[in-house]
Symmetry: C2
Subunit: 329 residues, 2 copies
Amino acid sequence: MRKISLIASLATFTALSPLAAQETEKAEYPSPNAIVDAAPASEWVKIAPSDLLVMDLAPDAEGNARRVVIQLMPPPFSQGWIRNIRKLAAVQWWDGTSVNRVQDNYVVQWGDAGYDNPESGETEQKALPEGLETVPESEYLSKLTGIDGEKSNAHNSDLTTGTTEVYRGDPYGSALFGLGWPLGSGNQSLWPVHCYGAVGVGRNYSPDTGSGAELYTVIGHAPRHLDRNIAVVGRVIEGIEHLSSLPRGKGQLGFYEDAGKRVPISSIRLASELPATKQLHFEYLDTEGKAFAKYADARANRRDPFFIVPAGGADICNIPVPVRRVSGE
Amino acid sequence: MRKISLIASLATFTALSPLAAQETEKAEYPSPNAIVDAAPASEWVKIAPSDLLVMDLAPDAEGNARRVVIQLMPPPFSQGWIRNIRKLAAVQWWDGTSVNRVQDNYVVQWGDAGYDNPESGETEQKALPEGLETVPESEYLSKLTGIDGEKSNAHNSDLTTGTTEVYRGDPYGSALFGLGWPLGSGNQSLWPVHCYGAVGVGRNYSPDTGSGAELYTVIGHAPRHLDRNIAVVGRVIEGIEHLSSLPRGKGQLGFYEDAGKRVPISSIRLASELPATKQLHFEYLDTEGKAFAKYADARANRRDPFFIVPAGGADICNIPVPVRRVSGE
């Protein structure tokens, strides 16, 4: 028995399937999802396997696999931390570490929980591999002129004129889409923003910027005050429910006080290092394309049948960039 | 062993408690939480027990109680639906119904899941009590001049001058705080907005507006496109983790396909109808007071030690109105 409609009471519509509801849509006002489904293949961009980070948690209590797939950001954003993350994955550093923190409406955080040595009374940390970079705070920002080398002018033009009008008045200054990502902008700079599912790098007090060994993802309302204060390195594109539905930690900041509640991480790998038979393929909708512009407009002005008043605008984090899994070639 | 700092790596600071971190704060730049903790008693407003809806879910797998407390909105907002909700609670209509839908980064929804009658092949719904109001769509908005009767001028003044500057440029038009709530505004009207934890009324297609028997709460990024399209009747002020951490439904729109996954609702009551020994007491920080203005400014411009760049603004849903539980008189 299927239930339908966006926020429907179950009383009258239980017999009507979601598909049937879509079919009754006025053709001139397709839903955002319908626009994405109709986007031509030419507007989908493949994500390189070296930009996919695959995290396998221990199976859940019922034995179900729990895989979380993260897309890493493209240049020029956060590349120092991303190089560190690739190194950490290559040496399988995260295997045997755990998810240690789940704070409601904020973040899930994973990495090394430390080991309380009963003899010394000290908390011992897992050693990091040699050769990780110490990335300066200046790397939280990217200069507009530095984007994509030779193509910078074209990209700058796209980035600054694209679909910006849709989200008039970003409360955090200015925001736009570029290279497949939501970005903040100002003072001739761009930076990644903390939307739902964004993956960032835990750090200590400034000037520390974190190595990339300690990561978190956003599981609540976009904490945009973290923008430019912490490195964003990617976004969860599949399996975030394995993190967002974890029990909230009862310690300070949502850390699990009971170590038994931590969720073991079986492995974290770049997709490019998985065996050929286990490759994953994803693509995102080109944020400079026509379909994306139409999709963003529809997100900002819902006119599909359930809605009676279009909003007239949208928060950039309420226009998630469409990403889909595809079969390999 | 406690771990500290907002998004800290665990490497260096495990020995320093969160309290110690607060103590090192520069006095002139207290954190938002420190501002709230220091607010005078005169700026806290009691919430009437008749405005508290108490939902007890069946205990979890480990036998732990799961209580969710909802604050209902004050006049002039959504009062037709709220009268229905008070009636439904009074006749204990929800007892034995369930949480039926959990959609990641969107909503948790509860009410009558219906009963598939094997004889008729029909889905039968639980009968609603007599006398529920059919509320018109015009009630999604409240006229600015209609606020709080005689005091409307004073309130209008507060509402429109209050702390609006903090969240320059709301992408959805205009937003402000009033009467303890985040509100949208425009065209001489005000309306409640869908922030994290907002509670709304499920409905079918327009002109249906829902009765209030089917409710949902937001567990992800604020879906502000629902503003003015669905009635918001309140917000979860305690226990949202019992809803937000539920397993996501695998059916369309996050409905549980397997009825066994539904979470039984033991009871929903107004706090005013609970026995004297079981009363709950909550209060919220006056949104027209000085402490709130300082808090909102600090949320928009974090200057406490972890931060290096203040945002210069904040999304209205990133300034949650402080609510606290207090002991009774």
